[in-house]
């Protein structure tokens, strides 16, 4: 996959690029409006991660251009402004998703994957990891082609694990992904244990042991 990260904050841009390029993706970066505009005209990308506030211009302007040229690429907008108007404007212009700073890289990664699933491959709605298969349309899970019954949250959790396989995910990251804004209603993330343990039990029962505890308080989904 080929990504373009258009973000004027170099540090953030590099972190995103490093994180995303781990899965054998090609990550190119652009630090201002001109550079991003040039690269978008010259090359084709599968995903563009677009900051709204690029120093020399608006990311929304770039998005408008992109859509005029009818390029087939997924666009994820990142913005420091959580206001609904910005979000709606971005999505109206044809962005595929919108994420507000600050975000977890794992979250960005899972959003990108979702966009890719929906887009380019004409709805490739099946994700496979070893003997586990997820049907993202029916939202159902199979181990060795045998269906396992998961709750809504357990399914989301498994999907999040698989899209971020091999990465360490802290409880905070998982909580925020699964419950969004509601995750800060309570001071602790103890409730995560319950859901992870249930999922782990169900997977283990079906013979798939991939959820590992990392460093005592984080989780990692990994093939042995």
């Amino acid at each position: 996959m080929k990504y373009l990260i258009a973000e004027d904050e170099k540090e953030l841009q590099q972190s995103i690029a490093t994180y995303l390029s781990r899965e054998a993706n090609v990550c190119e970066t652009a630090s201002d409006y001109r550079e991003a505009s040039e690269k978008l005209e010259l090359y084709d990308y599968d995903i563009v991660v677009l900051d709204i506030n690029l120093i020399t211009g608006s990311g929304l302007e770039l998005l408008r251009k992109l859509k005029e040229q009818n390029k087939k690429c997924g666009v994820i907008i990142i913005s420091a402004n959580s206001s609904l108007d910005d979000k709606l404007e971005g999505l109206d212009l044809g962005a595929d998703d919108y994420i507000t700073k600050p975000f977890h890289l794992a979250e960005l990664n899972s959003r990108i994957k979702a966009v890719l699933r929906r887009g380019q491959f004409g709805g490739n709605d099946s994700i496979t990891f070893e003997e586990i298969r997820l049907d993202t349309l029916a939202r159902s899970a199979y181990v060795n082609d045998k269906p396992i019954t998961l709750t809504r949250k357990e399914y989301d959790l498994l999907l999040f694990f698989i899209t971020n396989q091999g990465r360490v995910l802290s409880k905070a990251i998982i909580a925020e992904h699964l419950w969004g804004d509601d995750s800060d209603l309570l001071d602790n993330f103890d409730f995560i244990y319950v859901h992870i343990n249930n999922l782990r039990k169900k997977l283990t029962k079906a013979g798939a042991k991939y959820i590992q505890t990392a460093y005592g308080s984080g989780y990692k989904f990994i093939a042995d």
Partner: protein, 405 residues
């Protein structure tokens, strides 16, 4: 007031003395001239007797000196005793002595006094009435700009974007007052707007550095070389970032409410909002939440704010309930009650809805949840309140929706 009374009294006394003196002189003058006339008549005809009691002629044996005195004489026509002033002197005609007495009725002191007092009271009364109405109409005109400005000041709202314009007046003091007030209010408004803008700007500006910090930590955590103790430290850093994020989000929410950015008002069933929030929270907590549905509350408000309102009340109760005791949501008579167990009443219950108010140091919340509740209530005119029921050791937060219904 007192000075004018004293002044009136003094002038009344002087007027009384002066009038009395004047009258006495006049009477004596009259007596002398009447006596002279009578004496002349007597010289022509010694047989005249006069007109008693005004004029009397009487033959006496020896001469008497000129004498002025007061005397009381019964006046049968008026049927009362009257005071007369009399002048008598003997006159010698042909070796005989005749006493000539002339008298005139004197106006009694009480009468003078009465006349003076009556006149004074009349004058004062008339002056009072006259001045009262004159002042009233005059003052009304004079103070009109002042009261108009006072009214505008009362209706002044910091949050309004309109600046206050004051009525100008020809009176220098009022003119200065309105100029100063105009300056002052516009300065306050600008300061308030700047402060609000500042909070919002800071919150937004903080997002990017926070994003960088978070992204870097995410990267470091996934480094193969990270040790367990490093991971624990990074995780706790992540939690701190999380808190800053929450704080930011809440500050932005407060600013948005202040800026009237929630305009999608719709008819909402508060009971349903509570029920949804409870369902949602059940996934996040093991604390039991009871819901007692008394009556249905329908309000007009923004849906997202209603959700925030219910969520904040519930999460506050869950966070602070003693030893995971169940919390209760009751809806009764258009009032929603959220109750949780506690050990003791709050130290400063009047500050519970203030920003950054925390009962204890160990509390890791942002201290904004309840102030957001208050803000939302103020925005829609609901009445939030808190009390502690000692008998059951219950903290009770209630939102009265009656005011909007």
């Amino acid at each position: 007031m007192w000075t004018s009374i004293v002044l009136l009294l003094i002038s009344g006394v002087i007027l009384f003395i002066y009038t009395k003196l004047l009258l006495n002189n006049e009477i004596e003058e009259e007596l002398y001239s009447n006596k002279a006339r009578l004496e002349k008549l007597l010289e022509e005809d010694i047989s005249i007797k006069g007109v008693p009691p005004i004029m009397e002629v009487e033959q006496v044996l020896k001469p008497e000196k000129l004498k002025v005195s007061d005397t009381l004489i019964f006046d049968p026509s008026q049927n009362e005793i009257e005071l007369f002033r009399q002048l008598s002197e003997t006159q010698e005609i042909n070796g005989n002595y005749y006493r000539v007495t002339v008298r005139t009725m004197v106006i009694e002191s009480e009468d003078i006094l009465f006349a003076i007092v009556f006149t004074f009271v009349g004058i004062v009364f008339l002056a009072f009435i006259f001045l009262f109405f004159l002042n009233k109409s005059r003052n009304k005109k004079l103070w009109e700009p002042f009261f108009i400005n006072l009214d505008r000041l009362k209706n002044f709202s910091l949050k309004s974007n309109k600046s206050l314009n004051f009525e100008d007046s020809e009176i220098l003091e009022f003119h200065e007052l309105s100029t100063e007030l105009e300056l002052l209010t516009s300065k306050i408004q600008i300061d308030y707007r700047n402060l609000k803008q500042f909070t919002e700007d800071v919150s937004h500006e903080m997002q990017t550095p926070l994003a960088i910090m978070q992204a870097k930590i995410d990267t470091v955590i996934n480094d193969e070389s990270t040790s367990e103790s490093q991971f624990v430290k990074f995780s706790s850093l992540q939690e701190d970032i999380q808190r800053l994020k929450q704080l930011n989000k809440k500050l932005i929410l407060l600013a948005k409410i202040d800026n009237n950015q929630f305009v999608n008002t719709e008819k909402l069933n508060i009971n349903n909002v509570f029920q949804d929030a409870i369902e949602n929270l059940k996934e996040l907590t093991t604390t039991e939440i009871n819901f007692i549905d008394g009556n249905t509350i329908n309000v007009k408000m923004d849906k997202s704010l209603a959700v925030v309102l219910c969520n904040n009340l519930l999460s506050n109760a869950i966070k602070h309930t003693a030893s995971r005791n169940p919390i209760t949501v009751r809806i009764n008579n258009n009032v929603a009650f959220v109750e949780n167990k506690g050990a003791v009443a709050l130290a400063r219950p009047d500050q519970i809805f203030e920003r950054f108010y925390k009962e204890s140091k160990k509390d890791e919340s942002t201290g904004l949840g309840l102030s957001i509740v208050k803000k939302i209530c103020d925005y829609y005119g609901f009445v939030p309140s808190y009390r502690f029921r000692e008998s059951e050791k219950l903290h009770i937060f209630q939102i009265d929706f009656n005011t909007q219904l």
